[in-house]
Subunit: 188 residues, 2 copies
């Protein structure tokens, strides 16, 4: 991916733009201004536009990273030693990402690009639930699409509540809620 003949300083500047964009989008949401991103990166507008065709392109790059991270999480969950452990991994990673990425979650919902990688994420999640259902861990009488939607919703809910209840309590409540809905035997 590294262009040949790319200047070292140019590469460094692109990284600063990307980092700034991550931070600003996370805290300001989809409405963040390019000027603020450039400012935060310590760079002029020209530098932003040298690396990204337009605002939407920049957003897509940042959201895309996030989707990739989610897919990697899904991968780890699939490779877990048991279906239940896979689910626990998924939830834990989800709370982590929710804390880390702030408003990026809402951006992901709105942004219609990335239909490929984003729907890949949903498919992976659905597959995870399906397998867990086949293993008798997850209820068979709840629609899989509902489970994926519920979990996405819980990630958002968690983001809002962790400030009010504290991270630990919010995680416990959210995890408990999901397992009560999804699991055949919600003991843990």
């Amino acid at each position: 991916m590294t262009h040949v003949g790319e200047r070292a300083d140019a590469r460094a500047n692109r990284d600063r733009v990307v980092r700034a964009a991550r931070a600003v989008f996370a805290e300001r949401g989809a409405g963040a201004e390019i000027r603020e991103i450039a400012e935060r990166a310590g760079v002029g507008m020209g530098t932003v536009y040298r690396n990204f065709a337009n605002r939407d392109d920049l957003m897509a790059a940042i959201v895309g990273e996030c989707v990739d991270e989610a897919n990697a999480l899904m991968q780890r969950a699939e490779e877990a030693t048991s279906p239940l452990e896979g689910l626990q991994l998924l939830l834990q990673g989800g709370w982590d990402m929710a804390e880390m990425h702030g408003d990026l979650l809402d951006m992901l919902k709105q942004h219609t690009s990335h239909e490929d990688r984003s729907s890949e994420m949903h498919e992976r999640m659905a597959r995870l639930f399906t397998r867990a259902a086949e293993a008798g861990v997850v209820r068979r009488d709840v629609p899989i699409p509902f489970l994926t939607a519920l979990l996405m919703g819980l990630f958002t809910t968690y983001q809002q509540l962790r400030h009010e209840l504290g991270d630990e309590t919010a995680r416990r409540a959210s995890t408990d809620a999901f397992f009560r809905v999804a699991l055949v035997d919600p003991v843990a």
Copy 2:
């Protein structure tokens, strides 16, 4: 509330603007354009701005109506014959409102005005859950703020899923989910 000396046609026009605003905000979300609202109402921009100081004022009026409707629902739920029936009323009314009002739900979350009436709504909901908990219907070991946040989240989830699963299935799944999390004895 009717101004003395208010012309009949002016009153009618304001109603048309309000109706159009409800519809357009519901289907386009917070980003809806005033021009489209005026057009839909069959009215010029001047008429919109005669009745509402600015875009934000118009949004506040529409969102405010919605909050009032929600408060009325809460009122009915409080007056129900039993705590459980109160919850059932609340959920049913919630699904209805979600179907009716589209993107207004998201607008409500963002709009920081109406802190008074909006927080009144949250307080009422919390009171409803607290009473149900005292009656032994709702679990005591789940934080009330989590229940209110979960329910709000489920309303959003319902909106997204009803297109994919159909209204009936989506309602059943959502209701079932909330009761599994909230109720001491989730039988129904």
